[in-house]
């Protein structure tokens, strides 16, 4: 039985005109039904993230996907800003911070072939479990 989940794609690319792969992924995501695509650089060109709105969006979706090109083994700046501001104490972690319990999390990141090995060994599980716990 297929459980229909609501999917949120948080896309971060500071220079879409130079993008080759992500731009295509973005286009395909937008065409997919039941997927909410948010282009963070488009929504917040001055980095002034509306934390309330973002938290509300997280609550409304079951699967959160970060889609971004890999910059220095991390996300482009706005997605980091997003993590710093939106994943608050009391919302995403800590006492009563269980708003994201039970949600799924996924990445789609782009980097040249062969970059994945060091990334997987260092970052993945530690980071994702602390953010979503």
């Amino acid at each position: 039985m297929l459980i229909k989940r609501r999917v949120l794609v948080l896309f971060a690319h500071p220079s879409l005109e130079r993008s080759e792969v992500n731009v295509e992924l973005l286009r395909r995501s937008r065409e997919t039904e039941a997927v909410t695509v948010v282009d963070l650089y488009e929504q917040y060109p001055d980095f002034r993230i509306d934390v309330e709105a973002e938290q509300q969006r997280l609550l409304e979706h079951d699967v959160i996907v970060f889609m971004f090109p890999l910059y220095w083994y991390s996300t482009p700046a706005i997605l980091k800003e997003w993590q710093d501001l939106v994943l608050e104490y009391g919302f995403a972690y800590g006492k009563d911070g269980n708003a994201l319990h039970g949600k799924w999390f996924a990445w789609s990141l782009g980097c040249p072939a062969g970059c994945m090995a060091p990334l997987l060994s260092r970052l993945s599980w530690q980071w994702s479990s602390s953010a979503i716990a």
């Binding site: 002034r48 993230i49 934390v51 710093d84 501001l85 608050e88 104490y89 009391g90 972690y93 800590g94 006492k95 911070g97």
Partner: protein, 386 residues
């Protein structure tokens, strides 16, 4: 109108007044244009035919004396009014000279007063002659104005014709003063084609000297807009000084060119609301962001950390935008007379209080916080995970 005992002419005049306030007045004006010439010609033929030459030749001195007397008296009153209402220079003279005539409604009044035996029948032909001759003399007064008055008030003795606009752009900017220049330079620097209009020939000339192309003309004229390419344009920026004309221009653009996105420059809060009501897609108060930048610098100058000053400025801006929206909704719902009444004022005071509370809120109360910044978790948060 005749049922009520008033003249049909007054009725048509009232009909015109009512239609002038409707949203169809532009179309009305355009449609009436061809008939105007025809009917005006007919009207003046009637006026001319009403001149009874026997009466004129018998009372020539009286008629001419009365005519000049009426015109001088009326002119004096009008000149006084022009000074009172601050119509300076050439405009004041134009007002005086063009309205010094006795006015065609005089014919209506004279025939009405004859019917009702208010005036004796023998002086009425003389009076209608006075009216007709004063109207006859008005074109001479206009010539007088052009030859004597205008040169005194202007450096050029004649207005240059509006320029022939020989290119079309996707963006039209009305006004190339302090505000419009910045917008034009930003767009041009990025290869976006703009057509710029300005009403001051001096300004257009100054711009040409620094190699910024603009065209002379009054952006509120539909025929000029048409030649500027408003039908093919996708964006129109209203950056003119005159407030009422800006509102009228926005209304016209939204009415006749619905596909066009209109950005407008507002003088102050009230003008902002008016422009929004007229349908502008994006309105900015001309001094707001400059003042905000100065405010941030002021905060820095009194010792606030630059980044903190930046965030405080951002928080102020966010709240200000939201409050402005709330105030606008209150304003737009009220009919004209009550717009700045007690409910608007009390809302304004309430929002100002909310602003100061929000700005210095404690970071623990994160749901009320106006400005969301990274804040460390509480000191003992690790105990949550025990």
């Amino acid at each position: 109108m005749s049922l009520v005992g008033l003249s049909p002419a007054l009725g048509t005049f009232l009909a015109g007044v009512v239609l002038a306030n409707s949203e169809f007045r532009h179309e009305l004006e355009t449609n009436i244009e061809p008939f105007k010439g025809l009917l005006l010609g007919l009207f003046f033929i009637t006026v001319g035919a009403g001149i009874q030459f026997p009466v004129l030749t018998e009372n020539l001195g009286l008629v001419l004396g009365l005519t000049l007397g009426v015109m001088v008296a009326k002119g004096a009153v009008l000149f006084g009014l022009a000074l009172l209402f601050k119509l300076r220079g050439a405009n004041g003279w134009l007002f005086t000279l063009s309205l010094a005539q006795a006015g065609e409604f005089g014919f209506v009044l004279l025939s009405y007063s004859t019917q009702n035996h208010v005036l004796p029948a023998d002086i009425v032909p003389i009076l209608s002659l006075v009216v007709a001759i004063s109207m006859f003399l008005t074109p001479l007064l206009f010539i007088l104005y052009d030859v004597l008055v205008l040169p005194r008030y202007q450096d050029n003795s004649e207005q240059p014709d509006p320029d022939d606009i020989d290119e079309h752009g996707t963006v039209i900017i009305a006004g190339i003063g302090r505000f419009g220049q910045i917008i034009n330079r930003l767009l041009r620097a990025n290869g976006i084609h703009t057509v710029v209009l300005d009403r001051e020939p001096g300004q257009v000339e100054n711009m040409r000297q620094i190699k910024i192309q603009s065209f002379y003309g009054d952006a509120s004229r539909p025929d000029l807009l048409h030649t500027a390419g408003v039908d093919e344009a996708s964006l129109f920026v209203v950056a003119i000084d005159e407030r009422e004309q800006a509102v009228a221009l926005v209304e016209h653009l939204k009415h006749s060119h619905g596909h066009l996105r209109v950005l407008a420059r507002a003088f102050d809060r009230q003008h902002h609301y008016q422009l929004r009501e007229a349908g502008a897609d994006f309105v900015i108060n001309e001094t707001y962001y400059s003042a905000l930048a100065m405010g941030r610098e002021a905060l820095r100058s009194v010792g606030v950390h630059p980044f903190k000053a930046q965030k405080l400025g951002n928080a102020f801006d966010d709240l200000e935008q939201r409050h402005r929206e709330a105030l606008y909704q209150t304003w737009v719902e009220k009919p004209d007379g009550e717009r700045y009444g007690t409910s608007y004022q009390s809302l304004f005071i309430e929002l100002e209080e909310a602003l100061s509370t929000a700005m210095d809120d404690d970071r623990d109360d994160h749901h009320e916080r106006s400005e969301r910044e990274w804040a460390p978790p509480p000191k003992n948060y690790l105990s949550d995970f025990d």
